[in-house]
């Protein structure tokens, strides 16, 4: 193969499309043959059925999402429990805290999985909703009266957001 052919300028009249692809093909064929020889020179790999079975039982690329979801829910619940009573007195503060939580959840999702995928984002969103429900139920059950008395704006802010969402 002549390297010159490949380096020919496709814009020039001398450029030969067929020769160009013939050259690419010959590079590919040479490479494929050498790879095949290298692979053949090494003994065939032993296949670990045990490894397959263990991994298949664990669930390939699936079960980890549920674990992430649980961890995210717990993390988000902690966030709501700590931040909301002190911060969300107004609708604006509640929206701001939602944004902060979104970033917080993204960071956790990235930390858990190493990469943010659509699946992890979906899990993070579900975690946010679940945690809000969990914390709302918990705070109402334990000291909802205290919070309402001390921070009546919190309840009003949640109502405002709910009303806006309903109107949408």
């Amino acid at each position: 193969m002549e390297t010159k052919k490949i380096m020919d300028d496709p814009g020039s009249p001398a450029f030969d499309e067929k020769a160009f692809f013939d050259d690419l093909q010959s590079i590919w064929d040479d490479h494929a043959q050498r790879v095949d020889r290298i692979v053949e020179a090494h003994p065939a790999e032993s296949v670990s059925i045990k490894g397959f079975t263990r991994f298949a039982k664990r669930g390939y690329k699936r079960s980890s999402v549920y674990i992430e979801l649980i961890l995210l829910t717990l993390a988000a619940a902690v966030y709501w429990a700590v931040i909301i009573p002190t911060l969300a007195y107004t609708t604006l503060a509640l929206v701001a805290s939602l944004i902060v939580e979104a970033v917080y959840i993204l960071l956790i999702a990235a930390g858990l999985g190493g990469k943010i995928s659509r699946r992890r984002l979906a899990a993070a969103c579900m975690a946010a909703v679940f945690s809000l429900v969990v914390v709302s139920c918990t705070t109402t059950g334990i000291d909802g009266i205290t919070i309402t008395q001390n921070h009546p704006g919190r309840v009003q802010a949640v109502d405002n957001v709910a009303n806006t969402l309903t109107q949408l």
Partner: protein, 157 residues
């Protein structure tokens, strides 16, 4: 099946990674796992080679899992020196130029041109890609034109 297909899988691993031994190994494990899990569902509507190509290429272009060493499953005990030898073999200037052109194509285009360069007949390319033979020919023609344009741009730069 895995042993018979190892040459195909290694070639795909080299074409769809950055040719670093660890990444070649990771993709090989991923493909081996997908083939193993899919083998029981293989309906033998196509020949085994086409099926291996389809599964391996789909795995190669899908989101790849980056295994940490301690997490890396060992489905297939790969000799490390083999991955090193393959990485060395791929460090060729002309080959890098070719890979650079292919890397700039979309995922589907990469799959089709890979099959074309691997000298599969159009009928088999169509089976692997799940399209008609005439569509495969049209796609390959367009991809070749795109490669020429990419090469042209590279020459200008």
């Amino acid at each position: 099946m895995l042993r018979q297909s190892r040459r195909i899988i290694y070639r795909i691993c080299l074409a769809f990674t950055d040719r670093k031994p660890d990444n070649v190994n990771d993709l090989y494990q991923d493909i081996a796992c997908k083939l193993w899990l899919g083998w029981s569902k293989f309906r033998k509507e196509s020949d085994v080679t086409s099926w291996v190509y389809r599964v391996a290429l789909n795995t190669a272009v899908s989101e790849q899992r980056k295994w940490r060493n301690k997490d890396r499953p060992v489905f297939v005990a790969i000799d490390e020196s083999l991955c090193d030898s393959l990485a060395e073999e791929s460090a060729d200037q002309r080959l890098e130029h070719l890979y650079r052109l292919i890397d700039r194509l979309s995922k589907d285009e990469k799959k089709l041109i890979y099959l074309y360069f691997d000298r599969l007949p159009f009928a088999q390319i169509a089976v692997v890609a799940g399209i008609s033979e005439s569509a495969a020919k049209q796609h390959i023609y367009r991809i070749k034109q795109k490669i020429i344009k990419l090469h042209q741009k590279e020459m200008e730069n």
